[in-house]
């Protein structure tokens, strides 16, 4: 922040003004502690910057007004959704007991049952050590799981997520109605997927619970077909996989690839499939894949 610190005398001596970015931060009270005094002093004596700040806020207000006015007309009443959320919260609360104890509760538990807790911890450590030892020697799959648990899963664990499909034909996956009906995964199922991969609590801000075989290719909403895929932590992320899903769907619907092959390739190793169908070793940028979005507008042939 020091390099951004403004010196009012210097500003005037050099003829500099406050940048738009700094003005906006100032107006949002974000920079008042470090920069506020200097900016305020500068604004008091600089009509040009005061004018610019007023113009910035005016433009923001105008846009906000246009934004709200445009979309307010489409907002359905909130009352039924409010009731629905309450019901779903109650249902969720009933399904699983609270997993978290407050700090004071933990202290109370530790005070009363410290010995039992310590013993349980030792047992858990021993069990984990045994499993690690076995995994390192006998189970490549489990080793892969452990490896992934230290980072992220650009590819799913085959044992947990082999892929699952529903009986579906090419015409069905290529019909317009089918294209528009990709479901949002229920939160209860997504939570189980996170738990299966050891992500507790769930991290929906960092991972998409994604279909290994997308529903657009006949993938099932089944725990065997879902895994937590990172949004950003790796270059082979959820957005890149979306490109592959679009490409395979396009090829299937144009008759360039049969549905079973598409399902098999994407479930066996989606990164290898991406390299194969995009003819590239590295993921393409999102902007370079824009043209492929036309696949969603494909109409079935017959």
């Amino acid at each position: 922040m020091n390099d951004e610190r403004l010196n009012d005398e210097h500003l005037h001596a050099s003829g500099l003004h406050v940048s738009d970015k700094q003005l906006l931060l100032y107006a949002d009270r974000e920079s008042r502690i470090l920069l506020g005094g200097d900016i305020q002093a500068h604004l008091e004596s600089c009509s040009q910057c005061r004018f610019r700040l007023g113009a910035l806020e005016s433009t923001l207000e105008d846009f906000a007004g246009a934004h709200r006015e445009t979309w307010d007309t489409e907002l359905p009443p909130a009352s039924d959704r409010h009731a629905l959320l309450k019901a779903r919260l109650a249902d969720l609360a009933a399904q699983e007991p609270a997993l978290h104890l407050s700090r004071s509760s933990w202290l109370a538990v530790l005070g009363q049952r410290r010995a039992a807790f310590a013993a349980a911890m030792i047992a858990a450590c021993l069990l984990l050590a045994i499993r690690l030892h076995r995994a390192a020697n006998f189970s490549p799959e489990f080793s892969a799981t452990l490896s992934a648990s230290r980072g992220h899963w650009d590819e799913p664990n085959r044992r947990l997520t082999p892929g699952a499909t529903i009986p579906v034909t090419r015409n069905e996956v290529c019909s317009e109605a089918e294209i528009k009906s990709v479901p949002v995964i229920p939160v209860s199922l997504a939570t189980r997927v996170f738990e299966l991969y050891g992500v507790t609590p769930p991290r929906p801000d960092a991972y998409e619970v994604d279909y290994l075989i997308t529903p657009e290719l006949g993938g099932a909403t089944d725990i065997r077909n879902l895994w937590p895929e990172p949004y950003q932590e790796t270059e082979w992320n959820a957005h890149i996989k979306d490109q592959l899903e679009d490409r395979l769907h396009e090829m299937v619907c144009h008759g360039d690839l049969d549905l079973a092959t598409a399902q098999r390739d994407i479930s066996a190793d989606w990164i290898a499939a991406y390299r194969k169908y995009f003819h590239t070793e590295r993921p393409l940028t999102e902007s370079s894949s824009v043209g492929r979005s036309a696949v969603k507008q494909f109409h079935p042939r017959a």
């Binding site: 005061r50 934004h67 489409e74 609360a93």
Partner: protein, 191 residues
Amino acid sequence: MAFSSDSILSWPLSPPAEADSRAVSSPEHEVVELFEELRDRLLRYLLALGLSAHDGEEIIQESFLLLFQHLRHGKSRENLRGWVFRVARNLALKQRAANQLRQQRIVEFNEALPDQHAGNANPEEQLQSSRRQKRLLAVVRSLPEQDQSCLAMRAEGLRYREIATALGISLGSVAASLARSLGRLSRADGG
């Protein structure tokens, strides 16, 4: 001339994100309270992203159920508004990619816009206002998605640090994005 710093803060600022006063209530109550505060704002943002109202409502429901679990696991209550916007945005981008409804929404919006200004202004004023709004929103649609989101979240009253959390970028990047976008809006508006 004495300059009052408060006179420039005409923007509808929300309460400080880092001082969340809901920490003492139950997770259910906390989630419902936040839903009541944010539902319309989130839905407008999701509509602006190109989702249908139905998809937007579903994503908002899922986002608040995830928030409930987040809170039940005792995770941080800091900047919950930014957290909810981030989760909803992630779900929305996925849904949007699946639906490809955006172009359709834009067409619908353009067709519907002139009818949305039936206030006290006379027809000529309404037409001018409608044209200006269309011009502003057309400029916004030409911006990168992240810049559009910054503007829309700001329009919904989010603080910069909340927007930064929602988009996973720095505070400075939010301000730079807004400065860039406002410059383009201003130029398009003849400023």
